[in-house]
């Protein structure tokens, strides 16, 4: 039993990791078929992963409603919206448009509630960027000054008005992006990739076990 609980997951991770790292170098049809089946399985398991998030969400908000915590009404709203959406979705067969390309009820809620809500939520940031620009974006150090100047040049050069006022600004912005930015991003890409590879190696060899849930053993 201890083997099943402790060792088996580590064995599975190790085997899957080694096999699929090596699979990359093996062009043989058998190896390709293996990748095909495994990736298909992962897709299916991925569908079930939704349950995880769902249960956590339900637990959190049920807790709020049961305890009558301040704002529990919002949790009730959340549940109501969720169930309404599921029912509408099943009635519509999971499609936004019916056969005549008209919106189903499900598609309607998506287009007129979900899209505006999420879109607006993120557009709020436009206002906050502006207020931070006025209050907090100061050239405290030489580095910060450099950052701000580059930012202003790019903002200037990437809009029609900027290019209209100063035709060269577009080229400067283009050069910053194409040369300076891409060299830095390239170095970061290489560095971060080494980090991810190191993490993956640790996972495969059972050194890093955070993904198994809970504390380190």
């Amino acid at each position: 039993m201890i083997f099943l609980k402790r060792q088996l997951p580590l064995v599975v991770t190790f085997c899957m990791g080694v096999v699929f790292a090596m699979q990359y170098y093996v062009p043989h049809p058998t190896s390709e078929a293996l990748l095909k089946n495994a990736s298909n399985w992962i897709i299916i398991i991925g569908g079930f992963a939704l349950i995880l998030g769902l249960v956590s969400l339900i637990q959190l908000h049920m807790h709020r409603i049961q305890r009558n915590v301040g704002g529990w009404g919002y949790s009730a709203v959340l549940f109501a919206a969720m169930f309404a959406m599921v029912i509408a979705g099943i009635l519509a067969g999971g499609k936004n448009l019916d056969s005549e390309r008209a919106l189903t009820g499900y598609g309607w809620a998506y287009s007129y509630a979900m899209v505006p809500l999420q879109g607006t939520m993120f557009s709020l940031l436009a206002f906050f960027v502006a207020s931070a620009a006025y209050r907090a974006f100061r050239a405290r150090t030489k580095e910060a000054a450099l950052l701000l100047i580059a930012a202003l040049l790019v903002m200037w050069g990437r809009v029609p008005l900027g290019e209209y006022l100063w035709a060269f600004s577009g080229d400067i912005a283009q050069w910053i992006l194409n040369v300076i930015n891409s060299s830095v991003r390239r170095a970061i890409l290489i560095g971060v990739s080494l980090g991810v590879i190191a993490l993956s190696i640790k996972i495969i060899f059972g050194i890093e076990r955070m993904y198994l849930g809970g504390k380190k053993e």
């Binding site: 897709i43 809500l117 006025y134 891409s182 890409l189």
Partner: protein, 280 residues
């Protein structure tokens, strides 16, 4: 004298931030209502996508992965519309899909709207495959066996019954793929898990936030072009000679950028003044 100066600076900096919110709202609203249509210059990275689309012969397979959610709709949706218009005008075989579940509806809508506009028929001219979970696993799986990953399209029709999908068995059969990304999974995953092995030509479109991060891929030829943000979409609309939402938004984009530029400059002027005052 110094003291009064100081108090002016402090008072100016203490302006209610809702005043600045107002400023941004106006800078967005006024140009939208009174557009002056400043000329839009075309950048080489957007032109590269356009030129590649132009070079594709009729009947080539074009795959558009619309990997964005409603939060990025204003930026990336116009890119999807412009690319789809181009593809349908060129009579390419268009395959649409999404890797982000909340983007399914928008992707479906984009395909249906443009298809209707250009009188294209589902199944013969285009196919919408819908969404699958698993992100990078979906790309891997499509590379090996596209039909196995999407045995049916979004509407439940078996893929074998869609004539547009004949001869498209894996990603190797795709002539040009473009991922329109708003985060993970996106262009990076399409390169790492897709083009790296299955060797189709790949183009990228993304929100402006992501665009700078994709430049190393552009430089290394991992993607052949990049449409960045609303501005990129506007450039594509101009290349297509068909204005849309992106072109309409460009004047507001100009105005808001200049508001921010001015705000940053004011902020720093105040900062320099207050620092000098502290020193004296």
């Amino acid at each position: 004298m110094n003291l009064s100066n100081h108090s002016i600076v402090t008072r100016m900096l203490a302006i209610d931030r809702r005043f600045i919110f107002m400023l941004i709202a106006l800078a967005t609203l006024i140009p939208l209502l009174n557009p002056i249509n400043l000329p839009i210059m075309i950048s080489p990275e957007v032109r590269a996508v356009y030129d590649h689309m132009e070079s594709l012969p009729e009947g080539s397979v074009f795959l558009l992965s619309m990997d964005f959610d409603p939060a990025s709709k204003p930026e990336v949706y116009p890119q999807a519309i412009a690319l789809l218009r181009h593809a349908f005008k060129k009579n390419l075989k268009v395959i649409g899909l999404t890797l982000l579940v909340t983007g399914t509806g928008m992707a479906e809508e984009a395909m249906a709207t443009v298809a209707e506009e250009l009188e294209k028929i589902n199944g013969t001219d285009y196919a919408f495959l819908g969404w699958r979970p698993g992100a990078s696993a979906v790309i891997l799986s499509m590379g090996q066996d596209l039909v196995g990953t999407f045995p049916q399209d979004h509407y439940g029709i078996p893929i074998d019954e869609l004539s547009v999908m004949h001869n498209v068995k894996t990603l190797r059969d795709v002539d040009y793929a473009v991922s329109l990304a708003a985060g993970f999974p996106g262009v990076d995953e399409w390169y790492i898990y897709g083009k790296d092995k299955y060797r189709f030509e790949l183009g990228g479109g993304s929100t402006a936030v992501m665009a700078p991060g994709l430049y190393p891929r552009l430089r290394a030829g991992q993607i052949n072009g990049l449409i960045g943000g609303l501005r990129g979409a506007a450039e594509y609309e101009k290349l297509l000679d068909q204005s849309g939402k992106a072109t309409a938004g460009m004047d507001s984009q100009s105005a808001t950028h200049f508001v921010i530029i001015v705000l940053v400059i004011i902020c720093n002027v105040f900062y320099v003044i207050s620092r000098r005052q502290k020193r004296t």
